[in-house]
Structures are given as structure tokens and as C-alpha cells.
Amino acid sequence: MEIDFSPELEAFRAEVCDFLDTAPTPEIREAGRKLTSVFAPFEQVMAWHKILYEKGWAAPSWPKEHGGTGWTVEQRYIFAEEYRRRDLPPLLPQSLGMVGPLLIDIGTEEQKAKYLPPILKGEDFWAQGYSEPNSGSDLASLSCRADKDGDDYIINGSKIWTTYAHHANRMFMLVRTDNTGKKQQGITFLLLDRVDYPGMTIRPIVGLDGFPEQCEVFFEDVRVPQSGRVGEENDGWTVAKHLLKHERGGGAQSPTLHRGIERIREAAKDTPSGFGTSLAEDPVFLRDLGELEADIASYEAFEKLGVSGHPMANDPSWPSMNKTMNSVLTQRISVMMTRVTGNEGLPLQHEALRVGANVEPLGSDLELVAMPYYLNSRATTIYAGSNEVQRDLIARTAGRGA
């Protein structure tokens, strides 16, 4: 066992701080302050992605030969801590955290050469086309069809909940190529070079927080080349499951949660408890906050075990445990935020939430974001496989972890 506390790391921290204090534009900072979702405002987060790429810091979790940073786990956490401390918008996960790592693991050399550089540079944004109206938890039942025609596939059907499809220029998706065997067997994983193929229509869906984030995507005789396939035809389920491991698996997420605690603590200083003191001095509140903080600390320990390659993390249910813990902690943070903001979280402030808006918020930054963040965070236990589905997966290996 070993944790590096060497003085060189402090020099690294200083370098990170210096960069993060100077590189982001005011719009990028504003987008981070107004964050109410895991999905940051598109325009600003992509601008930030490009700046990080220039610095070589866009993909800390990627292998160095593909443009990763080659940082130690300690360094990755220092970066994440300082990043979150400044409320900078997190880079979007679909390309960097899902299809990128997938291609690194199992893409062809050609696919890697074609797709990885523009992902890294922040030129491409990929949407994830898995879910369908009738295939959510039961993803393998998906029916969006791709029929072979010469060197192409012809796609018919629809996808739903496709996050940021209206911003994407590319899309990875699952299609049905065979109906005869077990439902998992006739699925194929496709990369789409464009989302504006003839026959493709994208309709944004307004969420409960009032913002369009997910989309419906309709396919009517959409012709795409077969060369976009990853893995073998009808073997897409294996590919999809591999990607889900990246989607559900950990990165350095705990600093985001810790930052939530910090923001709550800060705002609690100015909030009356209703019992004579500020919330920040209120023993009941402190006990609740302490409980949450301790739980986040345990999650941080769990996460660091995973990222540093402890054998416990070889457990097949590790990504599911990660997803379950992280989603619930995110929700608990968001509840605590609304507890602090109380009444002041009730006004709808859509215009003030827009990056570049000329409207002053009615109250503090936290009062502006807490309620939409809470509402949006209800999704964390639904997306990437609902927590009920994760629990089923964890239960299957329950006896093995001990």
C-alpha cells in the first residue's frame, strides 16, 4: 500500500491551479457556475474541451499513446479536485468516456485513426443511440432495424432519450440485424459519421427542469456504410456491454460530490435554520451533512481503489456498484442543496440560467441552480441502466465479493 504525498505533487497542483485560473474564458466559467446537469451547456463545454486539448489535458483517463496525460492516480485526483473547486464544466462523457475508450479497446486501426483524434480535439461530439421507446431497461429487445444493401445498411426505426443528439455530429448506435435467435444475438454496433443523413430526424424533448437535453431520433430508410460497424455483425451486444463498463465505471467523480458539500456548507452560513442560528451552526444540519460527507468519503475510497487497480475492482459488478453509489450520492447532494435554498429555489429562472443571459438571478448562484439540479438529478438513478437493473446485476455476484 502506498499513497504519494511527495512535494513534487504540490508543484503539479500549482501548475494545475495556474492553468485553471487563467485558461477558461468567462463564458466557460459561467457555464460551469450554471451547471444543473451532468451534461454541461454544449457550446461552452466544447470550447473548454478544445482549450484543454491544446494543453494536452482533455483525456486524463486515456492511455498516453492515444493522447492521455500519463498522470498517476494522485495527479488525476489533484486535477479533478482543482477543476471542481472552480466549478468548471465537466467535459461531455459520450465521446471521451464511452465511444473513445471503446474504440481504443476494440476498434480497428482504421477506426482509431479516423475517430480518436477529432474526439480528443473536441471537434466531434457523439450521441449514444441505445434506448428505444419500447426498449429501455430491456435494451436487448431493441427493434431499430438495419438491413444489408450492398456495402450499406438501411436503418428504420427510432431511438429515444438520446442525450444531446441535437448537438451531435456523430452517433454510435445499436441496431437489430437479426431477428431469428436470442434477442441479444441479433444486435449490431454501428458508428454513424453524420446525424444529418437523409431520412434522419431529431426532435428534442423538454425535460422536467424545462430544458431540452434528450432527443428522439427517427430513421426512415437511412443509408449508412457497413464500414461503420464495430465488432462483428450480430455481435453488437458484446460491444455494447463493453461500452457500458466505461459508462458506468468510475473516473475521478468524488471531487464533484465533495464540491457539492463545500457549496452547501458555504451557502448554509447565510441561511437561517429557523431555530435561532444559521444552518451552518445547526447541529441537526451538521449531523446530516456529516453523514453525507462521510458517505462521499467512502465512495472516494472505493473509487480510488478502482482507479488504482486494486483486485477488489476486478469484481464484475464493480461498475454497477459505482453507478449505484454515485447516482444516489448525487441525488442526496442535490436534495441537500434544495434544503438550504428552501423557498428561494422555487422561482423558475430559465432566462437567468442561460449562459450569456442579461438577466440577474433573483438570489445567489446556488439558489439559481439548486432546484433545476435536483430535478435533473432524478435521472441519475434512471440512465445508464436504472439502479434497479444495477442491483440485479450486483445481486448476481453478491456472494463473490466477500
Binding site: 432519450w161 422536467l208 431555530f275 422555487l346 430535478l375 436504472s386
Partner: protein, 367 residues
């Protein structure tokens, strides 16, 4: 002991429900909330016509002298239908006007005029003793400085009723002033709330109030009564919304299929539905019981705190479970589900959250 509605109450409840089903289904309501004004004067007039705005006013003041159960009979369907119109605002203002025999009450009960109670001062003014805004005597007149927040209907009202501390010789009392919204020194910032109501933050900068507009120099008792009535109505609304969430979610879970079967057949989903039902039943029982206590004149501070605390806490459980059970569609603006949850959340935050009230229950039983 009998906690059921009387025949009259049941009739009232049914007629309100069928009126709302006819004129205020979720689509109609969504259009109204999205309109520029954010609420419907036509609906408001009809609510007044049925007599619902006179319900909270005593008979000797020209009202219907509605009881607590009467109010529950009305407010439950209002919650289930997510009423955006200023009913709660009127519940707060009308009894106060009645308590000072103000003749403007008539227009309020008729629905032709709106009054808003400027009481809240931010973060949930859970108890009148938290009021900080002071009125300074200035010769024959008074000066108001400070800010009121989350004033329901504050941007639409014809009449503002302002609660402020009157520092007068040795006494420190809560006074009630009436002001026209366009008085000098008043700035009103109106907005919509997450649950589709209209409210406002109102700033008072050196606002001069004439002696005649001091409606009462000690309003605390009447104010506490009005707050209790509003708490009952907010909780009844939330319970109505919970019932709606429960039936919509049960229905969805029995029709939505995954893995070839309705999701309600998965034990995780079934047990969540069962917990929703328990929470709803517990909340509704508490509501009806508290209403009966109020009607009998026996509801204590503790009873009101239990009602508000339990409804906020159980309501959140039901709302969150409803969204989770709906999966992706639960996260959209298109379904009533998230809107019902937002109404419950807003009702929880108003007039002291469940955190506040549950703590208060503990504190009260200490002594």
C-alpha cells in the same frame, strides 16, 4: 368519531372535481401556465362563482364560513389538477381582511379583485416570530423598508397586505398594512414558480403608509389562524397530488412492459408502489385527522407541525418514486408526473419545510 366527509362536503368535492376534469385537464392547464399571464381569469371567475373564494371567510363577514374539512374537500382536487390560480394567496389574504372588517373583502370573494399577503421574507418564514421587516412611525404615517419574497400572486394583486413589525414604545407587535402595488417605493419582481404558480419578490424602499392603511396593529392571532388554514390547504393539495401520482404510476406500471411483462410484476417496482401507497395513506390519514381536530377547535401547534412535516416528507417520497418508476418519460415536461412532484416540493418549501416542522415537533414535545 367520524372522519368521513359529510354529504355536502362530498358533493362539493365531486363538483369541484368534475369542474376541473371538464375545464382543467392537464393539457388545458399546461396551456394556461404557458400563457403570458400564467393563470386563467376565466377559471378564476368560475371558482369564485361556485363560492370557493368565500369558503375561508366567516359567515358574519359575508363568507361561507367553511370548515377545515370543507377546505380539504376543495383543495385535494385542486392539488390533483395542479391549480395555478391564486387560491392559496386568497386563503391567506381574505381571512385577514375579514378580521379587520375591510370592505374590499367583497371584491376578493367575488373574484374581481386579488389580494396578496406579503409575509415571507426568504428561506421560508416558517413562523411569524421570524418576521424582520419593521414599520417605522413617521409622525402620523409609517415608513416601510425591506423585502418580502415568494409573495404568492404578488405580481398580480390589486392589493398588497404587508406584515411588518411595529416598533412602538415598548411593544413589538406584528402589524398589517394595506398598500396599492403602485405606491411609490415599491418594486415588484414577478415570476412563475416551479409548480406553475405566480409569485413575486417585493422590495419596499422608504414606502410611506398613511395611518388609515394600518389595518391592524396586532395581527398575530389572525395571521396564525390564516397560516394554519393555508398549511391545511397546501397539505391537502399535496395529498391530492400524491393520490394522482399513485394512480398514474400504478396504471403506468401495469401497462409498461419490459422483458415481456408489465414492470409492476418486478418485485422492486411492486414494493415501491406499495411504499407509495403506504406513504399516501399515511399522509391522507394525517390530513383528515388534522382537519377534524381543526374543525373541533382542538388542533395544536404540534398537530399542524406534524401535518406539514409529514406531508412534505411523504410527498417527496411519493413524487420521487413516481418519477423513478416511470423511467425516462418521468423525466419529461410532457407528463403530469413531474409537475405533480414539483407542486409537492413547492408546497413543502412554503411556510416552513418538513425539516423545520419535524424538528419543531421534537422541540414541542420536549417541554
Amino acid at each position: 368519531m367520524d372522519f368521513s366527509f359529510t354529504d355536502e362536503q362530498q358533493m362539493l368535492r365531486d363538483s369541484v372535481s368534475s369542474f376541473l376534469q371538464r375545464s382543467y385537464d392537464f393539457d388545458a392547464r399546461s396551456k394556461i401556465v404557458r400563457s403570458a399571464e400564467g393563470w386563467s381569469r376565466a377559471i378564476w371567475e368560475q371558482i369564485a362563482e361556485i363560492g370557493l373564494l368565500a369558503l375561508p371567510v366567516a359567515e358574519d363577514a359575508g363568507g361561507l364560513g367553511g370548515t377545515a374539512p370543507d377546505l380539504v374537500a376543495v383543495a385535494e382536487p385542486f392539488g390533483a389538477h395542479l391549480l395555478a390560480e391564486p387560491f392559496i394567496a386568497t386563503l391567506l389574504a381574505a381571512p385577514l381582511l375579514a378580521s379587520v372588517e375591510d370592505e374590499r373583502l367583497e371584491g376578493i370573494m367575488e373574484g374581481s379583485k386579488l389580494a396578496a399577503l406579503a409575509y415571507e421574507e426568504g428561506h421560508g418564514t416558517a413562523d411569524p416570530s421570524h418576521i424582520a421587516m419593521t414599520a417605522h412611525r413617521d409622525g402620523e404615517r409609517f415608513m416601510l423598508d425591506g423585502e418580502k419574497r415568494m409573495v404568492l400572486a404578488g405580481g398580480d394583486a390589486d392589493l398588497l397586505l404587508v406584515v411588518a413589525r411595529l416598533e412602538d414604545r415598548l411593544e413589538d407587535r406584528l402589524a398589517l398594512f394595506s398598500l396599492s402595488p403602485d405606491s411609490d417605493g415599491i418594486t415588484i419582481k414577478g415570476y412563475q414558480t416551479i409548480d406553475g404558480r405566480r409569485a413575486a419578490n417585493i422590495r419596499f424602499s422608504g414606502v410611506q403608509v398613511e395611518k388609515d392603511d394600518l389595518l391592524a396593529n396586532d395581527i398575530e392571532d389572525a395571521l396564525r389562524k390564516a397560516l394554519d388554514t393555508a398549511i391545511l390547504a397546501l397539505c391537502a393539495e399535496s395529498v391530492g397530488a400524491m393520490g394522482e401520482l399513485l394512480s398514474r404510476t400504478a396504471e403506468y406500471a401495469s401497462t409498461r412492459k419490459q422483458f415481456g411483462v408489465p414492470i409492476a410484476t418486478f418485485q422492486a417496482v411492486a414494493h415501491r408502489l406499495a411504499d407509495m401507497k403506504i406513504a399516501y395513506t399515511k399522509a391522507r390519514a394525517t390530513l383528515l385527522y388534522t382537519a377534524a381536530l381543526m374543525e373541533a377547535g382542538h388542533a395544536t401547534e404540534r398537530d399542524m407541525a406534524i401535518l406539514k412535516g409529514q406531508t412534505g416528507k411523504l410527498g417527496r417520497e411519493v413524487g420521487e418514486a413516481a418519477i423513478q418508476t416511470h423511467g425516462g418519460v418521468g423525466m419529461t415536461d410532457e407528463l403530469a408526473v413531474s409537475h405533480l412532484h414539483k407542486r409537492i416540493l413547492a408546497n413543502d418549501a412554503l411556510l416552513g419545510s418538513s425539516e423545520y416542522h419535524l424538528r419543531k415537533v421534537g422541540n414541542l414535545s420536549r417541554s
